[in-house]
């Protein structure tokens, strides 16, 4: 369960520790201070923080894979990559669908990691939509503008999620 620890540790604490790691005084290159690597660094930290939850979901789905189907596949001679792609992934596709949908929604709303790690910088290389909304609302004190930005974000998330739901027919297999 070592892998799940990042997911249950408070995000802010994780981000602060990663910030210290990224900018150990005297280390070069400083990934957070470079506009071309800052966003990648935020992604790396976020993946480390965020995969635990999906791992649990997948792990549960893997354990629920029907033994008879797997046995039939192995009798038919399916091994390795073939077994993974044609048998196992389709079997857990509902979990994959759930995980991708939820992860996309939450990652569109990302705020804490860039806020702590880079405060949106350098320049605005890591400033995300929610940070812009936050700044419009609570630093520029333009609540109307912030509300408009929030609605743009909502519309985008709604659109992306709708596309995912429409697309699930092509690749998600529900049993029975």
């Amino acid at each position: 369960m070592l892998f799940f620890i990042p997911a249950i540790t408070p995000m802010v604490a994780n981000a602060v520790i990663w910030k210290l790691l990224f900018q150990l005084v005297g280390t070069e290159p400083n990934l957070l201070a470079d506009g071309s690597t800052a966003l990648l660094s935020v992604v790396a930290m976020s993946v480390w923080q965020g995969f635990g939850y999906n791992m649990i979901v997948f792990s549960a789905a893997i354990n629920e894979m029907s033994p008879s189907v797997l046995e039939a596949a192995s009798l038919d001679g399916a091994t390795g990559l073939r077994r993974l792609v044609s048998v196992q992934l389709p079997l857990i596709s509902p979990a994959l669908f759930f995980a991708t949908t939820m992860t996309v929604i939450s990652s569109m709303q990302v705020f804490t990691q860039p806020y702590i790690l880079t405060a949106g910088g350098p320049g605005n290389a890591t400033e995300t939509l929610v940070m812009t909304v936050y700044q419009a609302g609570f630093q520029s004190r333009e609540l109307g503008l912030a509300a408009a930005g929030a609605w743009v974000l909502f519309a985008i998330i709604l659109g992306v999620t709708a596309v995912q739901f429409l697309g699930q027919k092509r690749w998600v297999h529900y049993e029975s």
């Binding site: 892998f3 910030k19 990224f22 005084v25 005297g26 400083n30 957070l32 201070a33 800052a38 966003l39 935020v42 992604v43 976020s46 993946v47 965020g50 995969f51 635990g52 999906n54 791992m55 997948f58 792990s59 789905a61 354990n63 033994p67 797997l70 046995e71 994959l96 995980a99 991708t100 992860t103 996309v104 990652s107 569109m108 990302v110 790690l117 880079t118 405060a119 949106g120 910088g121 350098p122 605005n124 400033e127 995300t128 939509l129 929610v130 940070m131 812009t132 700044q135 630093q139 520029s140 004190r141 333009e142 609540l143 109307g144 503008l145 509300a147 408009a148 930005g149 609605w151 743009v152």
Partner: protein, 513 residues
Amino acid sequence: MKALLAAGLVILVGATACGGGEGTAGGAKQDDGTVTLDWEMWAGSEEEKAQLDHVAQLVTQQHPNIRIKLRTAPFNAYFTKLQTEFAAGKQACVVSMQSLRLGAYADLLEPLTAPEGFAPASLDALKMDGKQLALPYDLSPMLLYYNKDAFAKAGVAEPKAGWTIADFEKAAKALSTGGKFGFGMSFSDLHTLSLLLSYNGARPVTDEVKLQMDSQPMVDAVTWYAGLGAGKSASVPAGSAEAGWGETQFINGNAMMAVDGSWNIGSTIKDAKFKVGIAPLPAGARRVEDLRGQLRVRRGQGLRVQGGGDQGGLRAQRQGGPGLPRGPGPRLPRQDRAAAGLRGLPGEAEPGQGRRRAGRDVLGQGGAGRRRAAVHHQELGRREQAHGPAPAAGLHRRAERQGVAHHDPAAGGARAVRSREEWSALGFATPSVLGLGLFTLFPVGMAVVMSFFDWPMLGESEFVGLENFRYLFGEDPDFLSSLRNTFVFTGLYVPLNILVALGLAFWISNSRW
């Protein structure tokens, strides 16, 4: 001394239209003619409070019929409290703030008549549209803090008044040895811009409130500042989230000089494990002698000056510029008008409304039936698709049309029991439905409304139609890039997250097949 003043930060007091009658917040007038005025100020400790109380008592000594009642909050919470009080009409009669914030409160302050004795420039700096909005209370200059021990050890002469930029550069270079730096750089507005101002008079914003970061003096000054870091005689902030880098590095003993405000003298001396020296900022080629230029109040300009996150400073252009119509902004003389800013919060009328709506649609019998019928309909629809129409579909359809529960055609005897059950169900559901309505649906609805308004946190809101959206996509310097960043983040994060999670899940699940 004037250069010092120019780089400093004025704390001021302004008078508000606070409650006048008996029992209202902000101040009161007694029958015997004595007036009590509330005074809002930040204070971080009992000592500070005692000092302020002493000031308040001096007023009563001079004017026996005036009593000052002090209200304080720690600095970090002070401006949140102040805004909330203004929005609720509970503001004190006398409020304090830093001069850079004055523009945002301009419409809420009463014009004053300045008494004799103030330096004219200091009064001019607190004027807007010809009105004296506030009076100076205190002045906090930006200073050069230095590590006395390090200077002594390296045999470098300590900074003193009249020190020049050349002296500063020489000292910074001499003190940068053994992994330590002579100077701690910063990019918070006050800490950086004050030194640039002192260097060559560079100012980031014109008198017309336009950014001029690309003006020649600014380019020269920033080039010089960046050169300190490139030349290894100054510690460069490790990341863009490190707004207080120079000050922190100074206190930690990693940088031997830093720029900071006089308000931190006490805490710096307390926290530093070395002898702390203080001097005026080093003087550059051009002495700055215009107090007004730096401190003039600008409408709508809101700078965050302490506690990190200083991006607000660069928004002056958008806020003060002609972009969004703000209107002449009549002052808010009475409590009810001041309360306008609070419309985003649950008021007195709305919760009841929410309850009625919730009761009708979600919990009512018809509503519940409709919902159930709808679910069945959906399931049936899917089944129909697969196997042709199910036999009961017609019945369900009819039930749905009628909007009643389609199951259990209600035997007479069971009705009383069922309705009691429904009442208790209603009772159980009410708190969470109320909570949902109050804390989710209502704010969501408000957000829809607010997105069509120019809705400042303080002051009057105004319907602007789609102007906010047009601004976001047309003019906002940050919005499109933040949109792009969000998509890039999602595009990288989701696949990586899924891959890592999937790989580890297969690994830890050690499936037998």
